[in-house]
């Protein structure tokens, strides 16, 4: 699905946990998430911690949309 979106010329970022799957399938911009059942917020942590993590990683994904990259890129996250 990522590829069909990009094929249409719309920049797209894939946020996912299994990075090797995403790179093999052919996503060009990837931002890692923390798990499969809860990609953007660990329920074992307080709500504020989950929010910080989610807001940070979504921010990284938004910035990734503006980046001019030459090849498949996995963007770095801080939290």
């Amino acid at each position: 699905m990522v590829k069909e979106i990009e094929r249409a010329g719309i920049p797209v970022v894939h946020m996912c946990n299994l990075i090797p799957v995403s790179t093999t399938v052919g996503a060009n911009k990837i931002v890692p998430t923390i798990s499969i059942p809860y990609p953007l917020g660990d329920p074992a942590t307080p709500k504020e911690v989950q929010w910080k993590l989610r807001h940070h990683r979504v921010g990284v994904a938004l910035d990734a949309l503006t980046q001019d990259v030459e090849e498949q890129t996995v963007f770095k996250v801080k939290i």
């Binding site: 699905m1 990522v2 590829k3 069909e4 979106i5 990009e6 094929r7 249409a8 010329g9 719309i10 920049p11 797209v12 970022v13 894939h14 946020m15 996912c16 946990n17 299994l18 090797p20 799957v21 995403s22 093999t24 399938v25 052919g26 060009n28 911009k29 998430t33 923390i34 798990s35 499969i36 059942p37 809860y38 990609p39 953007l40 917020g41 660990d42 329920p43 989950q50 929010w51 989610r54 807001h55 979504v58 921010g59 994904a61 938004l62 910035d63 949309l65 503006t66 980046q67 001019d68 990259v69 030459e70 090849e71």
Partner: protein, 347 residues
């Protein structure tokens, strides 16, 4: 008697489903689940079964591999088998990961099996023997049989056939072989060329794999003026699932208006994805579709517009062909609504 060790996931070990997918690696003496079938068909004694939760392997790969290689250090074994994993994506990737690591560290033959739609095939077929397996556990005995037959050939030191002859996915390794035909390569080549010129069908001896890569789209110049949409394969839908999207092997997708809400509330939205424990996402669907964060970025002015719909389907067991079709359908909507960029979340 030769010895074998078998890797399976938490589900096939009978430990549990998605609620136990974080199960930490463990080695047990003896036979559990599919190891019973393997032991009865393989000309080797399956001495141990290794169990690991699919999410544990997916999210803590290095740790999982390290611990499992640690288990194996003082064990004697002549062959290592994983799966079969059918169309279960995480299980397939786990089988591929551990087989590759075991082969590299201990230099023993490794065998696994999965369906051609399993992403593990594309990722690991170059590294290890992956036999083409069924779509679901209904094929368990047959898939184990195929792996055992090949394992027996290896254990006995018999001559191994090509990927096509044996039934595993081609590894892209070239071997020198003596053909039964007396024809030289030059003759065969010219024959193929003549057939091609006559528009007749011919079979190449060197298939070139086709990689479908998409050119990287031009980046967004000014995010503060851009319209951004969220798309997910995590199965987040309104609680009554109005489009009746399937929980696995989806062929349908939905779009849901989020223009008047600040976040996705549990009890109003939920996930229908059958491939993971839904508890966390049901309690707070924003962990999969981060509407709350996007609304905040809209308020801050980081983005110009947050597209009024999010798009959702389920990514487990969904074939690549169906995913591509749904992707194309969603793209039509995105283009029509002048969406400038997309964040797609997957589970």
């Amino acid at each position: 008697m030769k010895k074998a060790i078998h890797y399976i996931n938490q589900f096939f070990a009978g430990i549990g489903g998605e609620d136990t997918a974080d199960y930490e690696p463990e080695i047990r003496e003896g036979l559990i689940g599919p190891a019973l079938a393997l032991n009865s068909m393989l000309d080797a004694e399956v001495t141990h079964t290794i169990i690991c939760g699919d999410n544990f392997m997916g999210s803590n790969k290095d740790e999982a591999v390290k611990r499992i290689l640690g288990f194996l250090e003082d064990k004697e074994f002549d062959i290592f088998v994983a799966g079969p994993a059918f169309q279960a994506g995480r299980y397939g990737v786990a089988c591929g990961t551990i087989c590759k690591a075991v082969k590299e560290k201990f230099n023993v033959p490794v065998i696994t099996s999965m369906n051609e739609e399993n992403p593990g095939v594309e990722m690991f077929k170059k590294d290890i023997y992956i036999f083409e397996g069924g779509k679901s556990a209904a094929k368990l005995r047959e898939d184990v049989k195929v792996m055992s037959n090949f394992g027996n050939k290896i254990l006995k030191g018999e001559k191994l056939g090509s990927a096509d002859e044996e039934g595993y996915f081609p590894r892209g390794i070239r071997h020198q072989v003596w053909l039964d035909t007396e024809k030289t390569a030059a003759e065969r080549g010219v024959e193929m060329l003549v057939k091609k010129l006559n528009n007749e069908s011919f079979k190449t001896e060197l298939p070139i794999p086709k990689l479908d890569r998409v050119p990287i789209a031009a980046p967004i110049k000014d995010l503060s003026k851009a319209n951004i949409a969220l798309v997910t394969t995590g199965g987040i839908v309104p609680i009554d699932n109005p489009d009746r999207i399937q929980s696995a092997s989806a062929t349908r997708w939905g779009k849901y208006d989020i223009s008047n809400i600040e976040r996705l509330e549990g009890g109003v939205y939920k996930t229908i994805h059958a491939g993971f424990d839904p508890a966390a996402a049901d309690a707070d669907p924003n962990v999969i579709v981060p509407v709350d964060s996007m609304k905040e970025y809209l308020k801050e002015g980081k983005i110009g517009k947050f597209h009024k719909y999010f798009y959702s389907t389920v990514g487990t067991g969904t074939t690549q062909a169906e995913a591509a079709r749904m992707g194309k359908e969603i793209v039509e909507e995105l283009l029509k609504d002048k969406v400038d960029g997309v964040i797609m979340t997957s589970t």
